[in-house]
């Protein structure tokens, strides 16, 4: 687990090396570019990861991720920010020991005694907690080198002894050959040519000598090979350790290591062969092929005059025998400008473990070509130490100026570069706390923007702008304000949809408003109002249907405002309501007219007025009451008229007409009687 951050750190260190070599530009805004993903699907949609180097953020599948804000980096950085300054006596003593080792091994001072002294200090340095026993590991490796060197010396000594033995054996060999064969003795020390014409006596005599000589020669060759292999292995082990320290950003240990290396291997060969060794040891399968990134652009661009916008993206995955393929298609169109473009596809082909190992081996080879000597590592370590010290100075200065954003960024970069450097470790807790608070708040801001908690985001932006003078509020505030405006627009549309009874649009708009700003205070308010309005409307509609079924039109008329509002969006009910209101209004008019006539002493006229309203609305209690009252007041007329109507119903035309005439005689202004007379008369003369 401890190794994982170091892998990231290795990447960071390599990035640093590249920046030293290529002077990479500095990044700027950290959170300014953050925006809710659903608001800006982007040119390639949301399925393609997009990195914004300007804000150190990447977007994938609708998620916004600050590259500096991840579990590994954040926990490590926050642990550092909360750790006390390493200014204890032990820390000072450790610092002193390391400096002493570096001094003993510095160029110009390298002697056997100094190397031994430096080596003796390594176990002492490793006793301190800050060292993490790295010096002990280095002492072990140095000791291994010495052992290897002793082995080489022993082998050389053995070879010298063997050489002497070989010379003796060669002498014996020549002496034991017969006279005829003496002229055909060996011509060189390494030659195995011998006379093929030996007497049987000579053959028997020199055979043991030949075997012994052959063994000696083979042993010598083996010793020579062992000697070379031992030295090479010792070098590779040492280089691996130095590279490991470099990856761990233990730059002073790198310096100690390179100096020890130069002292131990005084042959001037400073080439780094460890990377090549590692890459060649990887199980590369040449048949696996290479990972290929494919892109295909088939643009279809068209102009459009109307408005409206659509943006979408589609992805597809597939596989074939050689690996996997993923493809993404994007379709975007812009509104207002009348422009749309589509037809971009890209994907990765032949992605597999073997191809990735092959790619890793190639990368290591390339790295080995880029950093191929210990001198380069030494220079990079020195440059890193300088850069870290400068970063801390820069942090302190920015902190004084209250420019927390830049200060925090510099501290983070410096921490990532030189986590174990004394200048970094000696920063006081108070100095680090301000960066910690700013980091926590920016991380909170990113989280708030990611989940579209705009209220919290706005509060955080304001807080950050107060604590950090250089915090650029324009981008995050613009994001927040835009999201709020869009949410408000969706809510307005939802309200309109609710008013028009368009449930589909209502749901869609409410969902959109919720997605953009889930904790929008107006959301609950508007939703409540809409749903309570819906409840009230539904209740009113239920009441209306019930009253219509009961023919209680008077109740509907008395509460007509409620029912007019409730039925506004229901044409069928609206038509019913119109009929009801017309009927009741007609009844009301009849009642008013009857009251007037009754006041003038015309009870027959009043009755007739009520009777006309009654025909339209026979169930109205008010009309019934008035009708009963006036019936008693104009009893004779009413009886004549009712008898006439009854006779007419029974098809007694003569009697009916006579009764109508009598009713007219009783009340000459009677319209009912006159209508009846006209009706029957017309029928008679027809």
């Amino acid at each position: 687990m401890r190794f994982m951050p170091h892998l990231f750190a290795l990447g960071y260190a390599v990035g640093f090396a590249a920046s030293v070599l290529g002077q990479e530009g500095d990044s700027k805004a950290a959170t300014g570019g953050a925006r809710p993903a659903q608001m800006n699907p982007g040119f390639l949609g949301r399925d393609v990861p997009v990195m914004d180097p300007g804000s150190d953020t990447s977007t994938f599948d609708g998620k916004l991720w600050n590259m500096n804000n991840n579990r590994l980096f954040r926990s490590r950085f926050e642990k550092y920010l909360n750790a006390p300054a390493e200014t204890s006596e032990a820390d000072i003593e450790y610092e002193k020991t390391i400096n002493e080792i570096l001094s003993l091994l510095s160029p110009g001072k390298v002697t056997t005694a100094n190397v031994d002294a430096a080596w003796k200090l390594l176990p002492k340095a490793s006793e301190y907690r800050s060292d993490a026993n790295l010096c002990a590991s280095m002492a072990d490796v140095v000791y291994s080198v010495w052992l290897a060197k002793n082995e080489v010396a022993r082998l050389e000594m053995a070879n010298r002894t063997l050489q002497r033995e070989k010379s003796a054996l060669e002498w014996n060999y020549r002496m034991n050959l017969g006279p005829s064969s003496k002229n055909m003795t060996l011509t060189g020390t390494n030659s195995t040519n011998q006379s093929s014409i030996l007497s049987p006596e000579d053959e028997a005599r020199v055979e043991p000598i030949k075997e012994a000589l052959s063994d000696v020669r083979a042993t010598m060759v083996n010793n020579k090979l062992k000697k070379e292999a031992s030295i090479v292995q010792a070098k590779i082990d040492f280089q691996t350790m130095i590279i490991q320290y470099f990856a761990q950003r233990r730059f002073r240990h790198v310096l100690i290591g390179t100096r020890f290396y130069r002292a131990l291997f005084g042959d001037g060969d400073n080439r780094i062969s460890a990377l090549d060794q590692i890459s060649s040891s990887l199980p590369v399968d040449k048949d696996a092929g290479q990972v290929k990134v494919k892109a295909k652009l088939d643009p279809k661009i068209s102009g459009r005059g109307g408005s409206g916008a659509y943006a979408g993206a589609g992805t597809g995955t597939g596989s074939n025998n050689s690996g996997k393929y993923t493809g993404a298609g994007a379709d975007t169109s812009a509104s207002g400008g009348g422009f749309s473009a589509e037809g971009l596809q890209f994907g990765v082909e032949n992605l597999g473990v073997e191809s990735l190992i092959s790619a890793g081996a190639s990368g290591l080879k390339a790295l080995g070509k880029m950093i191929n000597s210990l001198g380069q590592l030494d220079a990079l370590a020195n440059e890193a130490i300088r850069d870290v010290d400068e970063g801390i100075e820069s942090y302190k200065f920015l902190l004084e100026k209250n420019e927390l954003k830049s200060a925090t960024e510099r501290l983070f970069e410096t921490f990532m570069m030189g986590e174990y450097m004394p200048s970094v470790r000696k920063l006081s807790r108070d100095e680090k706390r301000r960066a910690l608070e700013f980091t926590q708040k920016t991380n909170e801001l990113l989280a708030a923007l990611e989940v579209n908690d705009l209220t919290r985001a706005e509060d955080l932006i304001r807080e950050l702008s107060k604590t950090a003078r250089d915090f650029d509020t324009s981008k995050p505030l613009a994001v927040v304000e835009t999201a709020k405006t869009v949410s408000a627009m969706h809510l307005a549309k939802a309200k309109a949809a609710a008013a028009s009874g368009d449930k589909t649009t209502l749901e869609t708009e409410l969902r959109s408003a919720t997605e953009i700003w889930p904790r929008n205070p107006a959301l609950a308010e508007v939703s409540g109002a809409i749903f309570s309005q819906t409840d009230v409307q539904q209740q009113a509609l239920n009441d209306f249907d019930r009253l219509v079924a009961q023919k209680n039109y008077r109740q509907i008329f008395d509460d007509k405002v409620r029912y007019i509002a409730a039925t506004a969006m229901f044409p069928d009910r609206q038509e019913k309501l119109k009929v009801v209101l017309d009927r009741v209004q007609s009844a009301e008019a009849s009642l008013m007219r009857s009251h007037e006539l009754a006041k003038r002493g015309d009870p027959a006229g009043a009755w007739e007025s009520v009777e006309r309203g009654f025909a339209d609305y026979p169930d109205d209690p008010k009309l019934n009451q008035a009708r009963a009252d006036y019936t008693t007041q104009a009893a004779e007329f009413v009886r004549s008229l009712r008898t006439a109507q009854e006779m007419e119903r029974k098809r007694q035309v003569g009697s009916s007409l006579a009764w109508y005439l009598r009713a007219l005689q009783d009340y000459p202004n009677s319209e009912i009687a006159r209508d009846g007379i006209d009706r029957i008369s017309s029928e008679i003369v027809k």
Binding site: Q652, V653, G654, S655, A658, Q665, D678, S681, I684, V685
Partner: protein, 134 residues
């Protein structure tokens, strides 16, 4: 001369003359009566019965006498419909009366009294068969 005693008019003769006079008066009155109501043999219509159920009187012939009130409707081919007010038992009974086109020569004036011989038709309407001023 002997005075002849005044000869007195016999009382029986006087009674005879008076009786003859009354006889003539009665005969004259009888004839005069006969000339003013030509439908005296026809039964008068009882308005109450008509109002109760005209259909029950269908086919019957009655004489009616009343005042023409209003023209209700007319058809040149079929005739005219009027309302006529009969007086019976001190009450006024307005009733419809149809004057067929065959009686078109008679001018019926509003508020004038007419006597008519009527038949109750199938629909219960009084249809005048004869009519004259009374």
């Amino acid at each position: 001369m002997a005075r002849r005693a005044h000869q007195k008019t016999p009382s029986s003769l006087l009674f005879g003359f008076v009786a003859v006079f009354f006889v003539f008066a009665a005969v004259g009155a009888f004839f005069l009566q006969k000339g003013s109501n030509p439908y005296r043999t026809v039964e008068p219509l009882k308005p109450n019965d008509y109002f109760e159920n005209a259909n029950s009187l269908r086919g019957n012939i009655y004489q009616v006498e009343g005042v023409i009130m209003n023209a209700l409707a007319q058809n040149p081919e079929k005739g005219r419909l009027f309302s006529i007010v009969l007086t019976s038992e001190s009450k006024k009974w307005p009733m419809p009366i149809f004057i067929p086109s065959k009686l078109r020569q008679i001018n019926l004036q509003k508020n004038q009294s007419y006597r008519a011989k009527v038949r109750v038709d199938d629909s219960g309407i009084l249809v005048a068969e004869e009519i004259q001023k009374s």
